[in-house]
Amino acid sequence: MKPSEAMRIAWEAILKNKVRSVLTMLGIIIGVAAVIIMVAISAGTEATISEQITSLGSNLVFVQGSFQRGGPGQIPTGGLVYDDAAAIQDNVSGVVSVVVEQNSSETVKVGDVTLENVELLGTTTGFPSVRDMDIAEGRYFSEKELERKSKVAVLGSTIAEELFGDENPIGQTITVGNTKLVVIGVFEEKGLVGNTDFDSRVYLPISVVFQKFIFNPFARFMGDNIRMVYVEVDPAANLDDIITQIELLLIKRHEVTADTADFAITTQQDIIATQESTTAAFRSLLAWVAGVSLIVGGIGIMNIMLVSVTERTREIGIRQAVGATPSDIRIQFLTEALLLSIVGGLIGIFVGVGGSYIFGLISDMRTVIQASSILLAFGSAAIVGAFFGYYPANRAAQLDPIEALRYE
């Protein structure tokens, strides 16, 4: 039988049973659409995350302190102290600037507005450039204000709006805990980076945080504890070399060995790599789930085709009587299964692309439609159709013509 004839017969059979054909295709339609939508969501998430990571600032090395608390009554030891940052700045070559962060949370009041548990971020003057934050209004605090422990604050865009609404916050006073701070600037909107909302924090000189918001009775002997040191490095410098220098310096300063180090150094590349492996795992999980629905769709085709073969036993008998060979019958039903899954796949592409687009519009998630997922889903649909169509087609081909002609 000529392929064009097989296609024509299959197409007629599909059109003769429109409702059944659509129901048969439903599984494939959903499967293909699911693959496209899920891949679009995960690609969208991935794109968002990688943009966020780049927006952390470039060429960063993160030095994070890890505390080793002793038993009750003992002095907590280890971790990074404020002076470590200065030491890194002074002793490691290839460092452009060093930013220190220590956070706390306090109640913030302005007039009638009271916000509980607002994150305070004590930091240094290099912060805006290292973390890639721009001032929208006013200015950032200066080295002098940092040294003098000036009571000034720079607000994130969200908190500025919550506290002052349409009013200009510059020059206004806010009460943080029991301390009054003067607002000298507001950052531009930055958005959520990872789990950190940069826009709902209050930024102030770290010296003020140490003095007013973190009580550390041991600071006089050990220095002020800090959570994190951000080191911005010269893009031209050797990153591994800088990491080694920082490691050696801190080991010496803290009087520890490499095995008992009370700090950890990570780079932006490490974070990107971690995020990428997480999103890759996420994406392949989604693809598998969608793939399973495609297989379920294929089983649906097989079931309906088996029913169809039984229903059309008489027709098969007639065709055999007038000379259809087993392979003619097999080709006919295989073509039908294939055509069903291809048409289902095409409808699925429409639904998937449209669904991704609509999903991106109505939800917070971003969707990026991947051409590769369309090809993959469509190809899988065709393969699934051929694979699951084979068994019913073969059943039809093996029917005995006499039995088939007698079938009522």
Binding site: K2, I318, P401
Partner: protein, 249 residues
Amino acid sequence: MTAQQTIIQTIDLTKVYGMGDVSVAALKGVSVDILAGEFVAIMGPSGSGKSTLMHILGCLSHPTDGRYILDGEDVSHMDRAQLAAVRNQKIGFVFQAYNLLARTSALRNVTLPLLYNHANPKTLAEGDEKARVVLELVGLADRMNHQPHELSGGQQQRVAIARALINDPVMVIADEPTGNLDSHSGEEIMGLLHVLHQKGTTIVMVTHDPKIATHTQRTIHLLDGLVDNVVNNGHDVAQVSDLRYKEAK
């Protein structure tokens, strides 16, 4: 019609269903010869093996033993695909229940065997032309776009006969062709078969109706899987045809 050639020759055909103790022999050694251009009836009570014999003669199944030579070719041991090709090119079937494809026009039903004629493929246009010729022969030229449910039983059987003729078979096997028809339509169909016979088509008809059987030249009576006797119905080919066709009209 002179020097008639043998179209069907069976030698000791047997057919056994089942195996071992539960096996049933439907045919126990049937040898018949049917010549080209003959119109033969196969008769017998139910269980006599006439359906089994028809299935083997129609290449729908294999004999268990014995030989079947159709148009000079031994088809006893052909595989399913080869038998399908023989059915397609050498045999036209007319069934009691018409067996047309539902929701398919008379024209497409008639062209159905052409789809499977791999040896002599025809273009769609050639096939349609041929189908028009045979539909005209059976008197349904004006009904070719009708679907089976829009046709009477007699008309459906005419479509089936047209389908049987489309590949120019060496013989037509008719299985109780008038069984589902009223007597008037039955006479018409018999008349049509006589016309075909007159034009030289070999026809083997299975029936249980002695009246219908007398329309043919010879009746082969089967009983318990064996040929009981062969009755010559005693009239010349042409005479029968003329007579019956006039009656049908």
